[in-house]
């Protein structure tokens, strides 16, 4: 069943069409990867889909509801969660607190009980922390729960962002380069994690430069070039598409690759 559907999405910045007429859809449990050379508009597309930017044209549907132009926190309430390419960690909070913020929508959040710290607030805090610790264990950060997030390594921050996004129990998860800057072992772990998430029925949209990872785990791949869709299909179809090779390697390189 299709959960997230983008139709003919476009956005321009001062005459530059950063994303131009891109459509895709992803169903629950599926992994869709979006690839393309640098500057192809992958992250911009993510920003449009997650409500950080407002599309200048096209529509976005989340579970059959038109959510075009909704603010990010409203999209989050409808089950869309994401991570960032350039880390957006709450630096001054501990790793555990970062994930606890991810539980925001699952918590009762009224002001007066908070000011007077009623027993229900304390109880809820305990539950949220327990849930956060489980998620930290899942991404292998259990030992760092009470460490300030600002002092974690880059790879650890990447996984912390995934844990925080998962804490919201999303139906759709957008991952922006989760494996960037990770070594082979860490990439392996992230690969494993993404599969687990998809197996639970979450629709995963992945932007990633690590082609080995992309080819291995994607159900479908969408290739962008200069903001426009270039190709779409299964990993095998995309890999053999001469247009894709040309976009990545140039005209000459593509001919070389075809010969090889």
């Amino acid at each position: 069943m299709t959960i997230l559907k983008a139709t003919d999405v476009g956005i321009s910045f001062g005459g530059v069409k950063a994303v131009d007429g891109v459509s895709f859809s992803v169903g629950s449990g599926q992994i869709l990867s979006i690839i393309g050379p640098n500057g192809a508009g992958k992250t911009t597309l993510f920003n449009v889909v997650s409500g950080v930017y407002v599309a200048s044209r096209g529509t976005i549907h989340l579970a059959d509801e038109d959510v075009t132009g909704l603010a990010p926190h409203k999209l989050a309430a409808r089950g869309l969660s994401r991570t960032f390419q350039n880390l957006q960690i709450f630096q001054r909070m501990t790793a555990c607190e970062n994930v606890m913020v991810g539980r925001h929508l699952r918590e009762k959040c009224s002001l007066l009980p908070a000011l007077f710290r009623t027993p229900s607030v304390t109880r809820q805090n305990r539950e949220t922390r327990a849930a956060a610790l489980d998620l930290l264990a899942e991404v292998g950060l259990k030992d760092f729960a009470d460490v300030p997030a600002g002092s974690l390594s880059y790879g650890a921050c990447k996984r912390l962002e995934i844990a925080r996004a998962l804490a919201a129990e999303p139906r759709v998860l957008l991952l922006d380069e989760p494996a960037a800057g990770c070594n082979a072992v860490e990439t392996e772990e992230i690969d494993h994690l993404i599969r687990q998430v998809a197996d639970r029925g979450v629709a995963v949209v992945l932007v990633e430069h690590d082609m080995k990872l992309v080819m291995k785990i994607s159900d479908r791949i969408l290739v962008l070039e200069r903001g426009r869709p270039l190709a779409e299909g299964t990993p095998r179809e995309v890999r053999d598409d001469p247009k894709v090779l040309e976009a990545y390697l140039g005209h000459h390189g593509a001919r070389e690759a075809a010969r090889a």
């Binding site: 997650s50 409500g51 950080v52 603010a71 990010p72 926190h73 999209l75 989050a76 309430a77 969660s81 994401r82 960032f84 957006q88 960690i89 709450f90 630096q91 001054r92 909070m93 607190e97 606890m100 913020v101 991810g102 925001h104 929508l105 918590e107 009762k108 959040c109 002001l111 908070a114 000011l115 007077f116 710290r117 607030v121 809820q124 805090n125 305990r126 949220t128 922390r129 925080r164 996004a165 804490a167 919201a168």
Partner: protein, 315 residues
């Protein structure tokens, strides 16, 4: 978690013990008065620190709410026949309402722009107070009727020492409570990354507004307490310099640290009193001490010193 809860209660116990024990070493009623001034400033600063230190939004016009609280308890009983205690709550309500109405548009601004907008608010309120002399007595100020609670006439510097001390304890308790709740976490989250807070579902505009309203109510109650205590009020309390003083207390004591706001208030209120022995060099020395303190303790007094202690304890 356990350690944090203990830490919260420990902080309150130490503060309560300090408030209880200080009178034992006070040689005259003048000391009660100075200490009460510290408690009142600390109360306003703790509220402002929730806005600045937790939620990361600056307010350069916060004395406006302090002034509204102060003038509410002066004008209410004098012109409108409102009982003094009720005027205190009306002032808080008015401050909250103004913060809500003004906060909605201006909290969309960020950093310097927000600073200028709040500064404008502060200047505006101060201007209204000093020109509407029929109601406020203008630049000369106006007397404040004594507070009477159930037939008990609250007067005298030692009485006010206990009342303001109690208010400070209450304000400290609430601020410490807030830290470890979904609301407190939302404040700190939007401080570090608004966009990340948004995508996990935090309604950033709503929480900024909440922090602004909470800070306004704190300042208003502190202003009311000061007006009652002094029995007199003038527009300086709502003025720009007082706004700057509140921000200085928060930053000097330590952004985000509740205890820091109390320490900051203690330093900024008592230091001028101590420095009077230097006569005309008083202000020069005060400025110099603040500059040196900020250079050597750039996170503020309390976070810097506790960081130092913590490192010592570990090594």
């Amino acid at each position: 978690m356990r350690a944090l809860v203990n830490h919260r209660i420990l902080t309150l116990l130490v503060l309560a013990a300090m408030i209880a024990a200080l009178p034992l070493i006070f040689p005259s009623s003048y000391y009660f008065r100075v200490a009460s001034l510290v408690w009142v400033s600390a109360l306003a600063a703790i509220g402002l620190n929730i806005l600045m230190g937790q939620a990361g939004q600056v307010s350069l016009g916060h004395a406006a709410f302090f002034g509204i609280g102060a003038y509410a308890v002066a004008i209410g009983p004098a012109h409108l026949g409102v009982p003094p205690w009720a005027a205190l709550f009306l002032g808080a309500l008015l401050s909250a309402a103004l913060a809500y109405l003004v906060g909605r548009p201006i909290l969309r601004l960020k950093g310097h722009y927000l600073a200028i907008a709040t500064l404008g608010l502060g200047v505006l309120v101060a201007l209204v107070i000093s020109t509407e002399s029929r109601w406020t007595g203008g630049p000369d100020g106006m007397p404040v009727a004594r507070l009477t609670l159930f037939g008990w006439r609250v007067a005298g510097s030692d009485t006010w020492y206990w009342v303001t001390g109690g208010l400070l304890l209450l304000g400290t308790w609430i601020a410490l409570n807030l830290d470890e709740t979904p609301t407190g976490r939302a404040f700190r989250a939007l401080h570090d990354s608004e966009v990340a807070a948004q995508v996990v579902g935090v309604d950033v505009a709503r929480f900024k507004l909440q922090a602004f309203v909470i800070a306004a109510v704190y300042a208003s109650l502190a202003g009311s307490a000061l007006a009652f205590m002094n029995g007199f009020i003038n527009p300086d309390q709502a003025g720009f310099l007082h706004s700057v003083e509140l921000v200085t207390i928060v930053v000097l004591g330590g952004l985000g640290s509740v205890v820091g706001s109390i320490v900051g208030a203690a330093v900024l209120v008592t230091l001028p009193q101590v420095l009077t022995v230097f006569h005309e060099y008083e202000h020069l020395l005060l400025g110099l001490i603040i500059i040196v303190a900020m250079i050597f303790m750039r996170n503020g007094i309390v976070p810097s010193l506790s960081g130092l202690l913590f490192r010592r304890a570990r090594s």
